[in-house]
Symmetry: C2
Subunit: 278 residues, 2 copies
Amino acid sequence: MFIYQKIKSLVVDPDGIYYLGPKGSFSHEVALKIQGENYVEQDSISSVFAAVNKNNGIGVVPIENNREGPVNDTLDNLFHEDEIYINKEIEMPIRLVLAGSSYTKITSETKVYSHNHAIQEAKRTLQKLGITRVIPVDSTSRAAILAKEENALAICSEFAAKIYGLKVIKSDIQDGINITKFAVISNNITLEGDRSVVLFTVPHKPGGLFRVLQSFYERNINLTMIYSRPLKEIPWRYYFYLEYEGRYMDELMQSMKSNVEEIKFKGSFSFLYDNARF
Amino acid sequence: MFIYQKIKSLVVDPDGIYYLGPKGSFSHEVALKIQGENYVEQDSISSVFAAVNKNNGIGVVPIENNREGPVNDTLDNLFHEDEIYINKEIEMPIRLVLAGSSYTKITSETKVYSHNHAIQEAKRTLQKLGITRVIPVDSTSRAAILAKEENALAICSEFAAKIYGLKVIKSDIQDGINITKFAVISNNITLEGDRSVVLFTVPHKPGGLFRVLQSFYERNINLTMIYSRPLKEIPWRYYFYLEYEGRYMDELMQSMKSNVEEIKFKGSFSFLYDNARF
């Protein structure tokens, strides 16, 4: 409950909370933890960023998964949208259920819809149940919508099953550990918290990245995430996405500035764990 | 022609050249530049790695695109398959055509199939031609197969159009710069060439990555690509994929070894440009 309180205190009457849809998505589930009145689904990560910009709202997007790595669209939008900052990160375990309409019996004809990643993770359960007709779709919430068909099931979240009126047949069917980090974004920068994100480009010469990392090493700061992403129009040139333990420090920024070409500080914020993980 | 000669000299009677299919894919086009007799399509990157291992063959897989970034499946397989090495990298411009059966006339009913990335890149051309019925499929070669339907077109490579007997209606319809790097892989390590790849993990403490990069900085070695990828079963821990200018150096390896937890050298090799780029 402690975490829920903390998130509530973040919100100051936003003009909408925009999340990556469709309804019933994991982003939707995270968005509902934020106090608000107007929850609006968007069909892409770029649309969430655009809606936040346009309406001075709050956005919820996935940023990293422990199996798949970074969510490229989120990183690229953070780099290109200068007026959007990270206000919170929320870690959420991806728990999957098998669900269908209440009269579905599993037979050799039963179809199962899900996102390809979820299918991979539920492989063992599907084998045990003798299910072989598996149809990949673009999200687990889309799967829940399609599971309303006759003799069809979905691998989705318990939340999506509830939203679309499906009955849960089997819970926790995922193999292994699967956690997604979500970012809460807005046009307001925050400078307090235990995590910070900074994006930058370095000169293309020996030691380019090394010199930037030196600023962190000399201050004994731990990096929690570093990804490189292509600049697209200039082949084989990159920007870096770096998350570190600690808050904004003017002196650290000054030290970095002497070794970067471009630098964008994206905020200091709290890193929250979803209760359900423990 | 110089490049083609070079690639020929690479091959010593392999037991099959395995590429990411379907037939007509860009990997297929690259595979055909390698002299051989037995070209075999595979339905996933992991299958290419498995086939190379099983048959002591040669594999062709995409490794990086200047817009999309790294091809995660290729990086992860290189990290997990200890006996597979990179023998060449080949850079290929992704040029797209609009193609269909010879009697297709563009009307408001005309469907266009393609991979989502290719659709994005051909947006302006589609607008000019007044085409609005666009159907995303999982590859440009799959699009070429589907374009055999009545009143359908594909956005695909000229090569795919040729393989599937389509007529090219418009060439070079891509916007912007789009280049993919492909890796030629096998069970044999090569130690000569102007590029090298090494994969490693670092201790999770301040300066972990910094100390490894120091080995390169002190030797004035330029990094051409560095990506981090999750270790999956241990959340928020990573391995690094690093490509540098230069060949294998025993002394550099020794220097790195004192600062890494795990290290896998994946070979030194030539970096080739496809002629068509110039």
